[in-house]
Symmetry: C2
Subunit: 188 residues, 2 copies
């Protein structure tokens, strides 16, 4: 790898400045590459998964869900946070089952994306699921979700037309298109 000393910051001290139910905020003092000091505020997040779930009819599972920070309904891939200590494949199986009601026979981990590198350590693990069967959802009392089936082609057009703008969903569709077209031959 490159010698990145001209880019890397080192931690001087770290303080918890907000600790809510969902969000934990840290205020860190760092040493800059030139020896100066600065402060960095950032969210500490447990990480999440998102699932490209392919039905036997070839369509993908999406969810319509209201997202309060933006006060609008988003069309997005199934996703959810990793519980403490939970293996990521278990999170993917659990969230797909809980939110959409489907279980899958075949699972592959495709990659990871980082949604918000400027102020959060969140990583989102991208999974591909085949061999779906409906067994019934198990949503939380506070989850209101509508499950939608879309072909990959229609989902790509929805990105173009601004109907899909969620970052993890765009990343998932990017991977889906490469895998389905055979452009990327990822080991199973």
């Amino acid at each position: 790898m490159n010698d990145d000393d001209h880019l890397v910051e080192t931690l001087i001290s770290s303080e918890d400045v907000f600790s809510g139910t969902l969000l934990k905020v840290k205020l860190d003092h760092v040493r800059l590459p030139d020896g100066g000091e600065s402060v960095r505020e950032h969210i500490v997040h447990p990480g999440a998964v998102t699932v490209i779930a392919v039905l036997d009819n070839g369509k993908l599972l999406f969810e319509r869900q209201y997202r309060h920070p933006l006060k609008q309904v988003f069309l997005e891939l199934p996703a959810g946070k990793i519980d403490s200590g939970e293996p990521i494949l278990d999170t993917a199986r659990r969230e797909l089952r809980e939110e959409t009601g489907y279980k899958a026979k075949s699972w592959r981990h495709l990659g990871v994306m980082h949604p918000c590198i400027g102020y959060s350590d969140e990583h989102i693990e991208i999974f591909l699921a085949h061999g779906l069967s409906y067994v019934g959802h198990e949503r939380d009392r506070e989850e209101f979700i509508e499950v939608v089936e879309l072909s990959l082609a229609d989902a790509l057009l929805a990105v173009r037309d601004g109907e899909i703008s969620d970052g993890k969903t765009i990343a998932g569709l990017f991977w889906a298109e490469k895998i389905f077209s055979g452009a990327w031959d990822i080991p199973a």
Copy 2:
């Protein structure tokens, strides 16, 4: 549009619970679609831009930058936050100039992505820039950035291989590939 009453939450009250230099956190009480109540913590963000900047040699401009929340150097498209009241095209011109040293003759707004819909209202406006000329960067005292040129093909492989995992960069490359291949004919 659909009738989304079965999904939409309505605001009951809102409180500022953390206000730092970068991050503002709100704790909102909301009415759920079934009449119940819940709390939502979220970041209030001014929004940002990201730029697909195409050099005359056909390569794209990238930056290598240390991101403290994840404690690693990321390969990412040029980007930056919108100043209060600033038109988004001005932000795009300013950030490209400040961070990479390039100005561009031709600009197009391609779309918007939302990096973190679960806990931030951030929107990232995606621009395409052509006709670049180098005029010298104007980085902040605290910005340590290495500018890198990559072909679109190499950048796509970097996504496959996990060397690019930043959400806004993946979204930008998704758009770049569609536009450059002619698959998406977006009005200029």
